[in-house]
């Protein structure tokens, strides 16, 4: 045992001698880049890939072209909004509706302001895996759902067909919809996006029936083209009373929200956020690089910006 110790000490000494030739810390420190007047830009990053794509590109442009110090904070939605008030968050780059939060932080507390659409359109609805749509083409009409209810039975659905609901982050009208459209289904909470995606993977691979709540844009569509069920079309106002809803979900215009303080600061990053706008395809391209090709968000953003310099120039007002 003692020999072991001495051996250890000797090895350490040998290593120490061997290491002396290495490169020194701080030898190649880069000179500070010519920072413009931007300062720190606190960017909330909500936990889904589409958002991360927005944050990647905006953050990349802000630090590369505007010289901002971009601080990304990984937060759930509501906590990001709280951060508007305390000054810890400057911008939220993809907001799905959240009328309640808008009321609280924009109207009541007046700590946040809207800065317009991201150009990305959000869709919420019921989906089936592609194999089902191919085998039963008429399933995509909600009127035929009862015909297939027996196929969707599981251990959780108590004898009815199972409608698998999803992520607790989003408002769902599904219980009301099932009731008001007299569907022989039971809403079962999967409880997370992870559970939903895993369910769709399993359903497609093993040709199992599955009807579930899902949404676009979503990186998972790159892997599996889910097919949407047509519910009675949405008309403005048909979802006013949540208990009587009998129509599809409204299309969401995903928008941006920033803190009041940030909007008034005159930071060039604010103008960038205000002007930032792209399309579902753009976001999907970046999300795909992050989710499927496993690029870091920064690398994905760099690649996209190189190919779409003209769009970036519009955001920067350099047109």
């Amino acid at each position: 045992m003692n020999k072991l110790r001495y051996a250890g000490v000797l090895t350490a000494a040998a290593l120490a001698l061997a290491g002396c030739g290495g490169e020194k810390v701080g030898a190649d420190e880069p000179a500070a880049s010519g920072a413009k007047d931007c300062g720190t830009f606190n960017l909330a990053v909500n936990p889904w890939v589409g958002y991360e794509a927005n944050a990647a590109v905006v953050g990349y442009v802000a630090s590369k072209d505007l010289g901002c110090t971009v601080v990304k904070k990984n937060l759930k939605e509501e906590i990001s909004w709280q951060g508007f008030g305390t000054g810890e968050v400057d911008a939220v780059l993809e907001n799905w509706g959240h009328e309640d939060l808008k009321k609280k932080y924009i109207e009541d507390q007046k700590v946040a302001v809207e800065t317009g659409s991201t150009g990305v359109k959000g869709v919420i609805g019921w989906y089936v895996p592609p194999w089902m749509a191919a085998k039963y083409p008429d399933i995509t009409d909600w009127k035929n759902l009862n015909k297939y209810a027996a196929q969707f039975k599981t251990s959780e659905s108590g004898g009815k067909g199972q409608l698998l609901d999803g992520d607790p982050s989003y408002v769902t009208n599904d219980e009301a919809l099932v009731k008001n459209l007299s569907l022989n289904y039971k809403v079962v909470q999967s409880g997370s996006e992870t559970a939903l995606i895993q369910a769709f993977r399993d359903a497609e691979k093993n040709k199992k029936p599955l009807l579930a709540y899902f949404y676009e844009p979503q990186w998972f569509f790159n892997e599996l083209k889910l097919v949407k069920i047509d519910l009675p079309p949405y008309k403005s106002g048909c979802d006013v009373d949540p208990a009587k809803v009998a129509c599809d979900y409204p299309p969401y215009d995903l928008d941006k929200v920033v803190s009041k303080k940030f909007a008034d600061s005159g930071s060039p990053a604010y103008d960038l956020v205000k002007n930032f706008q792209w399309t579902n395809e753009d976001q999907n391209a970046v999300a795909r690089m992050i989710a499927v090709d496993k690029l870091t968000p920064d690398a994905a953003a760099e690649k996209w910006v190189k190919d779409n310099q003209s769009k970036v120039d519009t955001w920067l007002g350099k047109k």
């Binding site: 350490a12 020194k24 607790p168 408002v171 997370s192 992870t194």
Partner: protein
Amino acid sequence: MASITGSVEFEVRRPRRSVIIGILLVVWVAAYFLLRGIDTLVLGGQETTAFHRWLTDHRDDVGQGNAVFDAIRVGVDHFVVLLQNVLAQPSYGRPVPVIGWLGVVALAAYLAWAFGSWKVALLTAAGLGFVGLQGLWQESMDTLSLTIAAVLLSLLVAIPLGIWAGLSNRAFRVATLVLDLMQTLPTFVYLAPLTLFFAIGPAAATIATVIYAAPPAVRLTAHAIRSVPLESVEAARSLGSTRGQTLTKVLLPMSRSTVVVGINQTIMAALSMVTVAALIDAPGLGQTVLTALQTLDVGVAFNAGLAIVVIAIVLDRVTTAAGDRPWRTASVRRKVLLGAGAVGVLVAIWFSRTYVWAAEFPDTVNLGSRIAVIATDVTNWVQDTFGGFTYGVRDAVTNGLLNPLEALLTGSPWWLVAAVVVALAAVLGGWRGAVPAAVCSGLLVATGVWHDSMITLASTLLATVVVVVVGLALGVWAGRKHRVDTWIRPVLDAGQTMPPFVYLVPFLALFGSSRFTAIAAAVVYAVPVTTKIVADGIKAVPVATVEAANSVGSSSWQVISKVQLPVARRAITLAVNQGLIYVLAMVVVGGLVGAGALGYDVAAGFAQSELYGKGLAAGLAIVLLGVLLDRITQAAARTRKFNGTVRGDKL
């Protein structure tokens, strides 16, 4: 006459209780068929009660900007940032932390050697080297900084409280209630208000961790002090010791090994919070896990989860070794060696501050990506191989056990269920059981989520039974055989600290999103703590007692059932309590994989601000279920009499 009936009563006393319970259950089932569907208090997913809306409206009343909380926030923030600067983040105008990887490894190994043994020093160096090779050095150091801060703060509070609760019965009762609350109230319920209090940053993450991680240390310290034989205390008193002397010279030294189990449990609990804390921007491995899970990248998530497990194992072994090390002054030779070691550490630290190779972990060997690929392959293989069979198991258990139980609980009128629960509690535990049962049932109705509570209760009961059976079996095995203990421990540590979603993704593939998956998750998480406490209790049974039993020719089974289990009764009661509480701590995770009910309500309340009140009410309902079940089992254990008296039973 009177004397005859009296003796008859005495004769049938033991079977009578089970007969009463049997009759009670039969009556319940009969009444269920008559009254099914009446007064079941169902509340839809997006529906709320007036109480919930009131809670939602008053969410922010706790407010921010209070001087005391600000002081705490600044203090904790500085502490964590200091640790991060030293270990993890580029700091003080340098592109690297104060101590680079070589210095950290050397220092950690040296400390492990000085306070533990050279074996754990080797393990420490190997463990830290491994996470470096995984490509996760900086993330691991961030996590380590936060964990060290949270654990130190926890112990600062927990050990004195535990001693107090160990000495005073009243403090013990109050503490138990508060600790139940801290351990079972889901973190999601207080995470958002906490960030209002303490702002987004390390302080909020650390404090959230402390709330969850401190209770085991309090409980086990109190348990240890209360388990010291009265004879020892009396002997010390009779020799004229003061209270303080009795505490420091008798009680604390005699409870050391159990207190160390408590500290280990606190470390495990702190590390199990890493991913949750990442939701409020806590730096470190939790972020890696969360980001990987956004795209269901099990491989990368597993790699990061493995790093958490390795850190857990290192911390656990070092503290255990430090706890087992006899207090004695070092010999001259050892002092010399320690001094030499210290010089070596200083040299290593100097290197790590001077040369890049010693400061930043070299990324030439990327073990991480290989681990990720292997983990993904294994997961796919398991899914493909067992896929069909597992659904059959799920359906059998769900239809055979869970659905009938759940139907009985959710289909009966609430007043019937409450009456049965109170009656059961009274039979099992007398008024000590009945009163809490009545209070908890009443409050459960008041939360407005009665129906969801009953769904969760059904799964919880099933999961707890499995946890107790498995935990007892493993604990007895590990407590009797040291080698088993050594081999089983890393697996148990992994069960406690591996972020649940890492193994839940394959579980989801195997069992679909269902209540069964949630039960499986709870079992994986709760079995380790039960096992560890049981094993500790069995080990604490005096060798002489066991040998006496062996010498009269008892079989192993007799030794276990007649000697070791009865003597370790206190530890087993605690193990059941902790098993139950850990099951309840997983209710929210269960809600995220298909269990719905209370877990889903809490998660939805965290994510949708208009459901906040309902989420909080659901969180309180989980606490109430915990208190209810715990009090009934405790009361039952107290009134239960073991056959024959064993000397150790008095311990």
